[in-house]
Each structure stands twice: as C-alpha cells, then as structure tokens.
C-alpha cells in the first residue's frame, strides 16, 4: 500500500468526528426531549389538579359521565363556531369534519355528522340508497316510503317521535304522527325542527336543526329504506340504553385558556376521551419549516427514524392516543407524535383528572416539538457540515503531505537508481539531502554510501596502475639478476631454468603493462592534441594495417563517399580502433568476418565494429565499457583486465562521443558502436 493511500485512510478516520458529533447530538436531543416531556407533563398534571377542584365547570352536572358507545347510537356534538345554513351541504360546517358511520344491523350505509351551538344541535346525515322512494302527496301510515326517524327524549323526560320524509327535495320540517281520538292518526308538522332534504346520485342527504330547548339527554336517529326494509342508526326500541348525547362543557374553553402557556394546546377529555374543551393553538413554525426542509436530511441522523412515531390524529371529537388512554387509566403519560408533514413533531402529555379518587377525564397538553428540534437541527447540521469540511480538509492535507513525501521518496529512489551510471561513474549529489527531516537524513546516508562506493571504485580503478608501478621495481630486480646470471654464464643444463624464469618474468611484465594501460591512456589523453582528420581515410589506413596484423581474420570496411572530417586525436582514435579490433578478433569465429563501418549522419559519425562471434548476454551489454569488467571465459594467453573497452570508452568520451555495445537483431554477433559528434 502506498504511503499516499495509507495517509488517506488515516485521514478518513477524522470522519469519526461527525459520527461522534452525531452521537453527542442524539444524546443531547434525547435529554432535551426528556426535559421537554417532563416539563409538559408536570404542566399537564398541574392543570389536571386545578381542574379536579372545579369538576362541575369541567364536566357539567356532577356524577360520573356515562360510557360513550357509538354502536348504541350515542352521539357526540362538536361545538360549532357558526350555525351552518340548512342547505344539505356540510361544507359550511365549521370546523369542517368528516361524518362517521351510523351503526346498522341490516346493512344500510349511513353517515352522521353532529354539531352544536348555544341554541341548536345540527345533524347531517348521508344515506346510500340507490332507489329513494318518495313520500306520497297524501301520506298514509301504511305507505312505504324512505324516511328518517327521529326520537327525542325531551327535557321533561317525555319521548317525542318524528320522521323526515319528502316527495321532493328541499327545506322540510319534521313530522310526527299523532294518534287521534278516534283511533286514527294524522301527521302533524313540527316546524321548530327543520331540515333540508337533498337528493344525491346514490342516495340522499339530510341536514337538520333541532333547538336545544326541545332536547333532553337522549336522541335516536334512524334511516329507513322502505324498499328493502334496511335500517341504519337506531330507535329507543332497539337501543333503550343508547342514544345518549355528549356535549362539550360550556365555558370550559375560557377556563382552560387561563391555564395556557404560549404555543401549547390544552384539551380536556372525558372518560370516553371525547373532547370537552379545547384552548390554545399550536404554533407551527412555518418559516422554520421551510429552512428545515433543507436540513431535514440530517434529522434522520439526529433524532433517528421519525416514522416510528405514531401519526398525529386530527379527529375533532376525540383524542384516541395511547397517552390519553393511559391517562384515563390513571397514569400520567407523554407521547411524541409525528405531524402530518415530516419535520413537524408534536409532544403530547396527558394527566388524569380525579374527582374524589375517581377518574373523570384527562387533561391533554400538546406542544409543537419542531421549534426546538429545528434549532437543534440547524446547529447540528452546522456541526456536521463543519466537521465534514474539516475532514475533507484533513484528508486533502494528508493526501498533499503524502503526495509530497512520496514524490520526494520517489525522487530519491530515482536518484539512487541512477546514481551509478552505465559507465560506472557515480553521481554523488542526492536530491533532498539539504532537508532536515528523515528523508533528508536518508538522502545524506545515500550520499555517504555513494561516497564510500566512489572511493572504492576509484581505488579499484587506480589499483592496476598502482600495482603496475609498485611491482615494477622488484620485477626489474628479478630480470636484471637473470640478465646478470645469463651474462655470467650458467651450465648448459641450467639454461632451461633460466629460459623459464625469463619467460615468467616476461609474462609478469606484460601483465603489469596491461594493468597500467588504462592509466597510461588517461595520461596520454591529457596530453593529446586534436587535429582535423579525415576519419574515413584513417579507417581505411588502419584497416589495411589490421589486414596485415591479423592475417587470419577477414575485414570488411564500409565508409561513406566523400571525406569525413572531424577534430580528433588520430593516435587515440587508432588506439581505440586497436582495442575494438583486438576485442573483435578475440571473439570472432575462426576465419570469421570483422565488419568496420563508418556512418555519417547529420550531426555525428558512427564507427561500428562488429564480429560474427556469439552474442553477449544482454545483462552485460551495459557494463562492458566499465573499468575492470571482464566477461570472456579465458582460454588465451594474454592477460585481460577488462580495460580494453574501458579505454575505448575513455577515448570516445574524450572526443565528446559515447560507446555502446549491442547484439545484432539477426543474431549475427555483437556490434560495438562509437558515436562522435561532428563538431
């Protein structure tokens, strides 16, 4: 893994920062929420305690409220702000509500809406009846027509029965059947109870208004389909214990308003969770909601999944929430609700109202949770954004630093790779060595190492010359002694030893001479003068000489037409050729061909000497021209110290050129090419 990647991974650990921030925010969030719950709950408890002392103003007449049972035909009347028009439409009801289904045993679908003002109660009934049988013009008790029965228990406890029916839609009045003295009966209009009958595509609607003065504590409403005999709703005969009426408590709203703190809504429900009074309104922060829409992406991180919360119930008549149920069971409870739109949470706290240890109802206090949440959310979103930014910055810095370091190391590595040139020379200067850090120290370490290597190389390179010089005197002693011995005369049978000793001395001498050759060439290079020579003519002359000198080898010479003048030291050039040719002759096959080729390009001359010997292993090609590099396997008498091609290189470099070795692509043996610049 590269350093850059490693540091990037390390930098990514700063991502823990926003994560930790998130955790902290969640902790904070739940703590704040708990405190909000506590305060709202204690407020609810306080209100409940206050209200229990004034039970009459809350629950009306003393005594336990009856259990509400819609299936028994019990009706709850919502307080209406305005009296709706009797027009068969419910759109003008305020607040707008949805009707609830009437209980039915025979399958007639009907839905009821009930509301109350100070003077009237209003009932709105929708009946699904494909075939509406109208009332005949002259009604008869036995007539079969669709009707709505209304039974009212008056304030005095008497039961009054009415029915609504019509032959034509429009404003009608309730009718009642009065038993005549003669046993007959006739229909009487009750004009105080008015209604509007309206035909619809799948049935009819009836909106009626009943003065509260006519009304006792019970009321039964029943829709009857004459054709099928199906009914919806009930009658006193069917539900003798049902038909109870439930109203909000008059004046309770004003009482509740005294307990309100801003931004909360207080509701009192009876034991049935039906609303007795409501005061206050929730301040839903619309302005914040707009901003929160942008931040809502973070809400999931901060408060978790809101979808787990129960939805806020917007029913007008009752509060069926779990917390309310718990309160009615005698416990205080709080509950978070999900608003209709996300980002709209609602906190609900409920406390039971006890009168003489019996639970009569509950106080429900609601508070919008969004303000606090939004503020928190924005702060946390900022925190999150900043830490993300910091992380990105840290990662960027880490990657930059890593890149910088790896670039430096790469530079150092490249310099180390190329410190030793193909020609064996060593470049000491390392990049980065001026830096004070570890990489700088490494570079300086490299420099020291290379310095030692250079000293060693230099020592090796001069070793030959030194040896040659130092051994010369003892060798001369041996040889001059042999000379003297020979001159003094030895016995004939000792001549062989003398000859062998002399032969050994000669061989030693040639070894020393070879060892010192490079040093002498370096010396003669220092004293060389360049003259303008025709390289082609020089080559021709030299090759003619080689043909005499190496009669066994075949020489091929190719030179370009015309003269090839260059400024050179001819002796050195010839010496270079000597080495190349000697080398070629050594490697050439017996009676092989040595090709000498001069090539002229735009800017340079190329002298290529090839032989048809075996190719040189490619790993050695680059090193052939190094001092003391020897690749031949021995087998001839001449000592070799790998100086011949080194001398070639010295001379090529003296002329500003360079020497390379290559194997011919067709396997035709190695070619040594020396390139000279033309200038």
């Amino acid at each position: 893994m590269s350093i850059r990647l490693q540091l990037l991974l390390i930098a990514l650990t700063t991502l823990l920062l926003p994560w930790a921030g998130c955790q902290y925010a969640r902790e904070l969030e739940s703590a704040l929420r708990a405190s909000q719950e506590n305060s709202l709950q204690s407020a609810a408890q306080t209100i409940a305690n206050a209200l229990s002392a004034r039970a009459t103003s809350v629950f009306g007449e003393p005594g336990a409220a009856p259990r509400f049972d819609a299936a028994q035909g019990d009706i709850y009347f919502l307080p209406l702000e305005h009296e709706p028009l009797l027009d068969g439409y419910r759109e003008d009801w305020d607040p707008v509500m949805d009707p609830t289904a009437l209980p039915t045993r025979t399958g007639l679908a009907a839905r009821l809406l009930s509301g109350a003002t100070q003077r009237f109660v209003f009932l709105y009934l929708e009946v699904d009846d494909a075939t509406v049988d109208p009332e005949p013009v002259e009604p008869h008790p036995d007539d079969r027509f669709d009707r709505v029965n209304l039974q009212i228990q008056g304030p005095d406890g008497t039961l009054q029965s009415y029915f609504f029916a019509t032959g034509a839609p429009g404003l009608i009045a309730a009718q009642s059947l009065v038993q005549g003295d003669e046993g007959d009966s006739h229909v009487v209009m009750e004009s105080r109870i008015q209604a509007y009958w309206q035909q619809t595509s799948h049935g009819y609607r009836l909106e009626t208004r009943i003065p509260r003065s006519l009304l006792g504590s019970r009321l039964w409403l029943q829709a009857v389909d004459a054709a099928s005999g199906r009914r919806a709703g009930g009658s006193i005969e069917e539900y003798p214990a049902g038909g109870r009426l439930f109203f909000t408590t008059a004046g309770l709203n004003d009482l509740l308003a005294t307990f309100l703190s801003p931004g909360t809504r207080v509701t009192v429900v009876d034991i049935n969770a039906l609303k007795l009074g409501v005061a206050g309104s929730l301040r839903r922060a619309n302005a914040l909601a707009v901003e929160a829409a942008g931040a809502s992406g973070y809400r999931r991180f901060i408060v978790g999944d809101l979808s787990q919360w129960p939805l806020e119930v917007t029913a007008n008549d009752r509060l069926p929430n779990a917390s309310v149920q718990r309160a009615l069971a005698g416990h205080t409870a709080t509950e978070w609700l999900r608003g209709a739109s996300i980002g709209d949470p609602l906190l609900m706290a409920a406390a039971p109202i006890r009168v003489d240890t019996r639970i009569h109802g509950a106080v429900v206090l609601e508070q919008a949770g969004d303000q606090l949440l939004d503020l928190r959310e924005r702060a946390l979103a900022n925190l999150f954004n900043f830490t993300l930014l910091a992380t990105a910055l840290a990662a960027l810095i880490a990657v930059s630093v890593a890149t910088w370091i790896s670039v430096r190391i790469g530079r150092l590595q490249h310099a180390a790779d190329t410190a030793v040139n193909n020609d064996g020379s060593i470049r000491l200067a390392m990049p980065e060595s001026a830096r004070g850090d570890e990489i700088g120290a490494l570079a300086r370490g490299f420099e020291r190492l290379l310095g030692r290597l250079q000293e060693h190389t230099l020592y090796l390179r001069t070793l030959g010359a030194k040896l040659s010089h130092e051994l010369r005197t003892p060798l001369t002693i041996v040889r001059s002694s042999l000379d003297n011995l020979e001159s003094e005369g030895v016995r004939a049978d000792q001549n062989g030893y003398l000859a062998r000793a002399r032969e050994g001395v000669l061989r030693l001498q040639s070894i020393l001479s070879a060892l010192g050759a490079a040093a002498r060439v370096e010396e003669s290079i220092r004293h060389s003068e360049r003259v303008n020579i025709d390289l082609a003519a020089l080559l021709e002359s030299a090759v003619a000489g080689y043909r005499l000198g190496f009669p066994d080898a075949r020489f091929e010479l190719q030179t370009p037409a015309g003269e090839c003048f260059m400024s050179a030291a001819p002796d050195l050039i010839v010496q270079m050729l000597d080495k190349l040719i000697e080398n070629a002759v050594d490697f050439c096959s017996v009676s092989g061909t040595i090709s000498v080729r001069l090539l002229r390009t735009e800017t340079q001359y190329q002298v290529a000497v090839g032989n048809d010997g075996p190719p040189i292993p490619s790993a050695m090609l680059d090193r052939l021209f190094e001092s003391l590099f020897e690749h031949r396997q021995g087998g001839d008498d001449q000592p070799h110290f790998g100086l011949g091609l080194y001398i070639v290189r010295l001379i090529a470099e003296f002329h500003g050129g360079r020497a390379v070795a290559a194997n011919r692509a067709d396997g035709g043996g190695p070619v040594f090419t020396v390139t000279f610049p033309m200038v």
């Binding site: 002693i477 003297n484 001498q509 050759a517 002498r520 090759v543 000489g545």
Partner: protein
C-alpha cells in the same frame, strides 16, 4: 689522445634500491666499466663535486626524495654540460620523460630495459662522446633532404640547425630516415632503439621527435603516421 687512454670509464649509478644497484653495477663492470654506486642524492652530489664520473645513471625517486633524480640531474648538468646522463626509472609517465629530457638528460629509460640494452646505450653514449671529441668525419653522415644524421656523433640537424634528440629519439629517427618510404612498425622502432616499450610510449616518442623538428621548421612533415601499421619517413 684521451681516446686511446686505457683508463676505464667511470660510471656513477644513483639508485636507492640496493639489489638493482648491485645488478647494474655487475652488468656494467662486466662490460669493463668502473662503477661507483650511490644510494641518494646527497652522497652522489658530494662525490660528483670532487670527481666527475664519465656517465651517470640516475633514478628519479631517491629514497625519500620523490624527484631527487631531477634535482641531481640539474646539479650535475650545472657541473658539466657534456657528461652523458641517463634516467633509469620505474616512472614511465610522459610528464616524467619530458621533464627529465628537458633537464638535459641524454636518455630516459624505464626499468623495463634489459641489462644488455642498457649496456648498449651506455656504449653508444660513450661512443658519441668520443666521436664528438674527434675532428669532423663526414663519411658517417646520412643525408635525407634537409635532414643530416651523424651516426657516430649521434647528432641530427635539419637545414643545418642541430636538433637535440635523446638517444632513443635519435635511434628512432635514424631507423626511419635510413629507408625513406618504408613503414616501420612499432616493434621495429623499438628494436632499433634497443628498448622495450609499449605502443603508447613509442607514440609519444615519435610525437616528441616531430615537435622538436617542428620547432625548427613549422612546415616539417617528414614523419608520417600510417595508422594501424607504423611510421615512415617521406622526403
């Protein structure tokens, strides 16, 4: 005539290596010379100041004096302009050779030279001294155009002006000029000069010879290099 004087020539060998010194002394003594041996410059100079030898063979490095031989040569040359001086040294750099010859040495030999070769040189130098002391004898003079070579006196002149050549250089010129047009390879030149040298040294000898002629005559072009083969004299 001093030439007939039966007195043995005195050769001074200044060499700090005892074994070599003794070997040289033995070889030269065998040739009939009287040999005096010195290990350092001081003792040699002390002896020279009282009695000059007939010929001096000097090593360059003398004990702890790296260039003691050069100094000795200079001092000896100051005592006598004629005494033949041969440098015989393990140092074979061109610079040393040039320095030595410039100080007035007659020859500069490396220690590769064999004792018989050394003896031949010594004899040649004595012969030259003797010839110089004799009246002119034109019979031995070889003429090649502007060049004239006196084989006895080992003197060379170009257009009448003397060319100062060391013994080795003289023999090289002599070998080349005797057969103009013929290419002499390096081995032949070495043989002619009674010396065993490597190719580089022959090359630098030839170079030096050319330079000496060029100093007298900038148009000098008589010694031609035949690359790959050797050198030849052209008239």
């Amino acid at each position: 005539m001093r030439y007939d004087r039966p007195m043995r020539k005195l050769i001074a060998v200044v060499e700090d290596e005892p074994a070599l010194r003794e070997n040289y002394a033995a070889a030269l003594a065998r040739q009939g010379y009287q040999v005096k041996l010195y290990a350092n410059r001081a003792s040699a100079m002390q002896a020279f100041s009282t009695h000059l030898p007939d010929l001096a063979i000097i090593d360059i490095t003398l004990e702890d004096e790296a260039e003691g031989g050069f100094d000795l040569c200079r001092e000896l040359r100051a005592l006598s302009a004629e005494i033949p001086i041969i440098f015989l040294t393990a140092r074979d750099s061109e610079l040393d050779a040039v320095s030595g010859l410039r100080l007035g040495a007659d020859d500069f030999l490396t220690k590769d030279v064999s004792l018989p070769h050394l003896a031949a040189r010594v004899a040649a130098l004595f012969r030259r001294i003797d010839a110089l002391r004799r009246p002119d004898d034109a019979a031995q003079v070889l003429r090649r155009g502007a060049l004239s070579i006196d084989g006895e006196k080992m003197q060379t002149s170009w257009n009448g002006a003397a060319v100062t050549l060391s013994l080795t250089e003289f023999w090289i010129v002599h070998a080349l000029a005797r057969h103009p047009g013929h290419v002499k390879n390096r081995q032949q030149l070495m043989d002619a000069a009674n010396v065993v040298l490597d190719d580089n040294t022959i090359t630098s000898h030839v170079k030096r010879v050319r330079r000496k002629f060029l100093e007298l005559d900038p148009t000098f072009d008589a010694i031609q290099t035949v690359y790959g083969m050797g050198y030849r004299w052209v008239e």
